[in-house]
């Protein structure tokens, strides 16, 4: 499509990109912290420069641009940072927090800042300074016998993958679908998911180091034992288990994180079950659940809606040029042309050839009984949709799903809504019906994926829209709010939220919950300098 760009056209794009900041106030890359005078901000910047060096404080339009980028609607400029500061070690983090306390500078910590679909690196409210921890990028330990790793925030899954290859370690990584450019720390702190048997990342997390607002360095679990060696081996430590309160939270800055790694299995066999109708989702869910409970299927099972898959490699305009959401029949036809059904359920077996051979018939039987076609490499090798999930289920690195962000066109745009529910057929059926109703009403296509963890499922709905079109961005925002609200009325709430809906979702979790979080916040960060607004905590 744009392969044939002339030099002049590209120049024009580059120029436009470089000057977007000047176009409209809402496109500004920077906004000052609320209630802070310019000269005070200048003093802050001077002090931060003294800590990290001139090169690592970003406090003008041009250098803040990278932190401003996101794919969610932000029509009123509510998620615009004031700048960024990038420490290289724990001591610098402590020194930055001291400055922030002195001046009441709000800091928004990120590890790699690729929280895509949820606001990337942008803060919950404008004027916060991004605390960019990417420069802290060391793999501090890899215990080859225990299969445990200790990493700093800036370590990407690509880096861990390379480390394993270079050192020929018998382990796999477990990645979100956007592994190469995102961090183990950021993803795990958001309680993100992957697709091998180690897919519930927070479940596999073991020990962390946190810098509190007052500079205290806390090592959770066994990490504080003098001469201890059990930090990455035993999760729970002694007394209250604290790791949880530092996930999806603003109670501290996490500077180290331990994780368990999956031993590489001798044999791996990926499957896809093809189901023809949208209404098959209930039966699929009920077929999957027992195998997740008894672990015959050891990995998180993905039920991919055809449109989610098709949107990776296709543009909307190539499929449908008329008004309104794409009709089901059109999707069905295109799915069939790509060897897909309306739901395509992915799981894998791990072990030895013998254990896989023993398990496979049991699982096949259950899916065939509900009319699913159970397919493997024998039938689908080379199919790009099959290959994509096949890679994910063994921790493979890909960015193919980023394709869905440009569904509507060049400007991109996608915001995620991820409600959770018990893994029961009635739930998926109800959620799918409700999502289709609300999204189609606003003119958007329903592109879903369900991920069955164990007894629960995550419903991943990417609301794809055209961020270059303000009217559509406004609709996307309204559609998202309506979805969150209507799902809430049925008792379904999101497991995570974009920076634009943090309060809305927090309200659904109730007043007592918000109040307890507020009290913890007050105790740990009385000046509210760490990520105010994160998950609705001021």
């Amino acid at each position: 499509m744009s392969n044939g760009f002339s030099r002049r056209e590209v120049m024009a794009i580059g120029g436009a990109v470089a000057s977007t900041a000047a176009l409209t106030p809402m496109a500004r890359a920077r906004m000052m912290p609320q209630d802070m005078d310019r000269d005070v901000f200048a003093a802050v910047v001077r002090e931060l420069r003294a800590i990290v060096g001139d090169d690592w404080v970003f406090a003008d339009e041009a250098s803040t641009l990278s932190y401003r980028k996101s794919g969610i609607p932000d029509l009123r400029g509510e998620h615009v940072p004031s700048g960024a500061v990038a420490p290289a070690n724990v001591e610098q983090v402590q020194a930055i927090l001291a400055v922030a306390n002195r001046y009441r500078l709000p800091l928004w910590p990120i590890s790699t800042g690729k929280n895509m679909g949820y606001g990337m690196a942008t803060p919950a409210s404008s004027g916060q300074m991004i605390l960019d921890l990417k420069r802290m990028n060391r793999i501090l330990d890899f215990d080859a016998e225990l299969g445990t790793i200790l990493v700093e925030p800036g370590v990407t899954y690509q880096q861990i993958h390379d480390y394993i290859e270079d050192n020929d370690l018998p382990y796999w990584i477990d990645v979100p679908t956007v592994g190469p450019i995102v961090s183990m720390v950021g993803n795990t702190l958001e309680r993100g998911v992957g697709y091998t048997p180690y897919g519930d990342h927070f479940f596999m997390q073991c020990g962390m180091e946190v810098v509190l607002a007052d500079g205290t360095v806390l090592k959770t679990g066994m990490g504080s034992i003098e001469n201890g060696n059990t930090w990455q081996a035993f999760k729970w430590g002694y007394g209250p288990y604290l790791d949880g309160i530092f996930t999806q939270s603003n109670f501290g800055v996490v500077t180290k994180l331990g994780m368990w790694m999956m031993p590489r299995p001798p044999a791996y066999k990926p499957f896809m079950v093809r189901s023809a109708e949208v209404s098959d989702i209930a039966a699929i869910t009920d077929a999957v659940r027992p195998f997740r409970m008894n672990n015959l299927i050891p990995n998180a099972v993905m039920m991919m809606g055809a449109l989610y898959q098709l949107s990776m490699f296709n543009r909307r305009a190539d499929i449908w040029q008329e008004e309104g959401p794409i009709p089901e029949e059109v999707i069905k036809t295109l799915a069939r042309q790509n060897e897909l059904g309306m739901w395509n359920t992915f799981f894998a077996l791990y072990g030895t050839d013998e254990t896989i051979a023993a398990t496979e018939p049991i699982i096949r039987g259950a899916f065939e009984a509900i009319g699913g076609e159970v397919l493997t490499d024998a039938e689908l090798n080379g199919n790009p949709y099959f290959e994509h999930n096949k890679a994910l289920m063994r921790g493979g690195l890909t960015l193919e799903e980023k394709g869905l962000v440009r569904w509507w066109g060049r400007s991109g745009g996608a915001i995620a809504f991820a409600p959770v529910a018990p893994a029961k057929g009635g739930e998926t059926q109800g959620q799918t019906e409700l999502a289709i109703e609300v999204m189609n009403k606003w003119g958007f296509d329903y592109a879903p994926a369900y991920v069955v963890g164990s007894r629960e499922l995550h419903h991943i709905i990417f609301l794809m829209f055209d961020k270059g079109d303000d009217e559509q961005s406004a609709k996307a925002e309204q559609c998202m709010n309506e979805m969150i609200t209507r799902f809430g009325e049925r008792g379904w709430a999101a497991y995570r939220s974009s920076v634009s809906t943090m309060d809305l979702v927090a309200d659904q979790y109730g007043a007592a919950n918000r109040e307890v979080n507020a009290r913890l916040k007050q105790a740990l960060d009385p000046n509210h300098i760490i990520a105010p607004g994160k998950q609705g905590i001021a």
């Binding site: 420069r135 390379d162 960015l399």
Partner: protein, 117 residues
């Protein structure tokens, strides 16, 4: 090999590799004060394969090699992001690295293995 020794070796090797992207080099003592690639920039091919190449020429984004795109334009797009492309910050790809990367992309031949969007 003794287990502890093996673990130590793995750690050292990893740091060296991270520092140079496969370049031979000795372990830097100042690793804790700076990200290693701030001291020894990673090669353009290495960065391209581990970042850009997952999307460009791989179904998701247009081919950018072999097109003589002006380096300054490439650099500015990397820093700002573009549509579905995220922005990459100086903490992810340093200014020195980006300059070399953009130059390399601009000069590089098209890769016949790559395919459009």
């Amino acid at each position: 090999m003794h287990a502890r020794q093996r673990r130590w070796t793995a750690l050292t090797l990893g740091l060296v590799l991270l520092a140079g992207g496969g370049l031979a080099g000795s372990l830097s003592n100042s690793a804790s004060a700076q990200a290693t690639y701030e001291i020894e920039p990673r090669a353009p091919e290495y960065l391209y394969a581990r970042t850009c190449g997952y999307c460009h020429g791989h179904n998701i984004a247009p081919i950018i090699r072999g097109r003589n795109l002006p380096p300054a334009v490439i650099s500015s797009i990397v820093r700002s992001g573009m549509g579905a492309m995220p922005a990459f910050k100086p903490t992810e790809i340093t200014d020195t690295e980006l300059e070399a990367l953009s130059e390399w992309i601009s000069q590089s031949e098209a890769d016949p293995e790559e395919h459009g969007q």
